[in-house]
């Protein structure tokens, strides 16, 4: 399964005068786990947003899973996001007044129809079977992040994006989350692209690229 899932050529994103992402050529294979490292403002989040269909490139070519993201309409982008991509946020971004299950069901609702049983199963799978009816405020950071993961994978995405998923977590929680992701990936066979500051976290990936000032400066394969 070494077919190409993501291909970008000369991918650029400018915010006014500021060039957040300089022309970037990147290929990611199906099922690969790619870590992106770089300090703040290096353009890694910009890249992630472009791949996740949250933002549009200023210039260049970007193709994910055979879909040319530049030509998609707004609603086409929305469809791409709900059917193809799952995103894990650093801030979790759970809806505060909905319970864990309801937060997951919301993702199901936007995708197709809500299914509570399936949402429960998904939460049990991330080890939160006992906290189904709790609101995000009543959960710890690690638990919140696991809800966020459950939500991200509920619609069986082919691409899972993580924007510093462990940025706010302590060492123990980080480990739990990373192990969970690894397990899920083994089951579901999705591609992971993860932005991180943490070398330890990046090491979970098959390959790590380093961005600096919008330019890819280094690429490391696992075991290098």
């Amino acid at each position: 399964m070494m077919d190409v899932l993501i291909e970008t050529r000369g991918l650029t994103r400018n915010y006014g005068e500021i060039c957040a992402l300089k022309p970037l050529d990147l290929r990611v294979n199906n099922g690969e786990w790619l870590s992106i490292m770089g300090h703040s403002g290096s353009g890694k989040s910009t890249l992630l947003n472009l791949l996740g269909g949250l933002d549009r490139p200023s210039d260049g070519f970007i193709r994910v899973g055979g879909e040319d993201l530049r030509v998609l309409s707004e609603d086409g982008m929305a469809r791409y996001r709900r059917e193809f991509v799952g995103i894990i946020f650093q801030q979790h971004h759970l809806i505060p007044y909905l319970t864990a299950v309801e937060n997951i069901m919301m993702a199901q609702y936007f995708h197709s129809v809500p299914d509570e049983a399936e949402a429960r199963t998904a939460l049990e799978r991330v080890g939160l079977g006992h906290r189904l009816k709790n609101r995000p405020g009543e959960l710890s950071g690690g638990e919140q992040q696991r809800v966020c993961i459950a939500r991200a994978i509920i619609n069986s995405p082919r691409l899972l994006l993580g924007d510093e998923p462990t940025g706010n977590l302590d060492h123990g929680s980080t480990r739990v989350v990373m192990e969970l992701l690894s397990e899920l990936r083994a089951e579901e066979q999705f591609t992971i692209i993860m932005v991180t500051h943490n070398h330890e976290v990046a090491a979970w990936g098959d390959r790590t690229i380093y961005l600096d000032d919008g330019v890819m400066v280094r690429e490391e394969l696992k075991g290098d």
């Binding site: 933002d55 995103i87 809806i95 919301m106 936007f110 995708h111």
Partner: protein, 390 residues
């Protein structure tokens, strides 16, 4: 937001509820003024009189079906005495409730009882020729009560009346003695004469066409004018059958009855609309703020794949639920408000009108929807990346 919807809906409900009630109340109050056409002799100053033989003709005129009632009056100053007290006073000869038969027409009852239903009468209406009712003020001065007799004198003609009722009107009528027309005619030595007729007619509101001078109209226009129940055309109608008469619309009332009501209704509806518009603006403003506040949430929805339609459905659904609740509460508040106003202004309780409930809820929803157009556009314009950062 809920508050503004409640406010808007309740004020609108109150106004609309009052509008219906008001026009009814005011129509009633207006009716209390009774007649809207005054028929007088053309040369009243020179002592002209109308003839009571012409009276039945009033029910044969073109607009006879619009004439709800009329009463003839003959006034005269007489000496009146009861027991030891003596006074100079006015006697009015009139019809109380007289069965009138005009040729070719159904019988009808005409007289004061018909055109002045607001008269408060303790006792009965006079039936026999020598029965009379007396104004409350006059009765007090003379110390007369129902069942007693009063003696009236005019130029040596004397007539004794048995008082069968005391009348309270709140007006000059309380200073008079009311007796059957024929009896007063003979007392005053004026057989067959009457001094004025008051006619109560249902009329259509005066408009520009109705105000025009009939003399300057073309034939077609004149026909149209004659064919419309303007108070002027009804008056002209009456004038034609009462020989030597001049019929004047009693303008204040005639125009008040017609146009004031429409104006008032229009004002009420306008106010209701204004209240709703204000509510819509308030809703819009508060929703705008709420959209800003909730922009991370909306951005998240977008990030996990909601398209514009889904966002609209979610937000509008929320708004509609809130607004229908607001409409319901607003309806209840508005009912109370209208009831309160009705009680304090008209001293009458208000019938709760159920048709206002759907009106209130629907208008609350409409207002909320109208107010949510701009906020929704704002919500749709939220960029997921920007929204999630903030």
């Amino acid at each position: 937001m809920l508050i503004s919807i409640i406010m808007g809906a309740s004020v609108a409900t109150a106004f609309l509820g009052l509008a219906g009630e008001l026009s009814f109340r005011i129509a009633m109050e207006m009716r209390n003024y009774g007649a809207n056409i005054l028929v007088e002799p053309m040369a009243a100053e020179q002592g002209g009189f109308l003839s009571d033989a012409d009276l039945p003709k009033i029910k044969t005129v073109f607009w006879r079906y619009n004439i709800t009632g009329f009463a003839p009056y003959l006034f005269g100053v007489i000496d009146i005495s009861a027991g030891t007290k003596r006074e100079k006073s006015v006697v009015t000869g009139t019809w109380f409730a007289r069965l009138l038969t005009s040729e070719g027409e159904d019988e009808s009852i005409q007289g004061v009882k018909v055109i002045a239903p607001w008269w408060g009468l303790s006792g009965t209406w006079p039936e026999a020729v020598n029965e009379a009712i007396i104004g409350a003020a006059l009765a007090k001065r003379l110390g007369v009560v129902s069942g007693e007799e009063v003696t009236t004198t005019k130029e040596r003609r004397t007539q004794i009346f048995r008082v069968v009722g005391i009348v309270t009107t709140g007006g000059y009528e309380e200073e008079q003695l009311f007796a059957p027309l024929a009896t007063v005619q003979s007392l005053l030595g004026a057989p067959g004469r009457i001094s004025r007729v008051l006619v109560s007619a249902l009329t259509v509101p005066m408009d520009d066409f109705g105000r025009r001078d009939p003399a300057g109209m073309s034939k077609e226009e004149y026909e149209k004018w004659y064919c419309t129940a303007y108070v002027t055309s009804v008056a002209k109608n009456v004038e034609e059958v009462m020989s030597g008469s001049r019929a004047k619309p009693i303008w204040q009332i005639a125009s008040a009855e017609g146009s004031l009501l429409t104006k008032l209704n229009r004002l009420m509806i306008l106010l209701a609309l204004l209240a709703l518009t204000a509510a819509a603006t308030a809703v819009s403003t508060s929703l705008m703020a709420s959209m800003t506040e909730r922009s991370p949430e909306i951005a998240l929805m977008k990030a996990i794949g909601a398209d514009s339609l889904q966002i609209i459905i979610v937000l509008l659904g929320e708004i509609l639920v809130i607004s229908s609740v607001g409409g319901l509460i607003g309806y209840l508040c508005g009912e109370q408000l209208a009831g309160f106003v009705s009680r304090s202004v008209f001293d009458a309780s208000l019938q709760p009108s159920l048709w206002l409930l759907p009106t209130a809820v629907v208008s609350a929803m409409t207002v909320a929807m109208a107010g949510s157009i701009m906020p929704l556009r704002k919500a749709l314009a939220i960029e997921p990346v920007q929204g999630l950062k903030g």
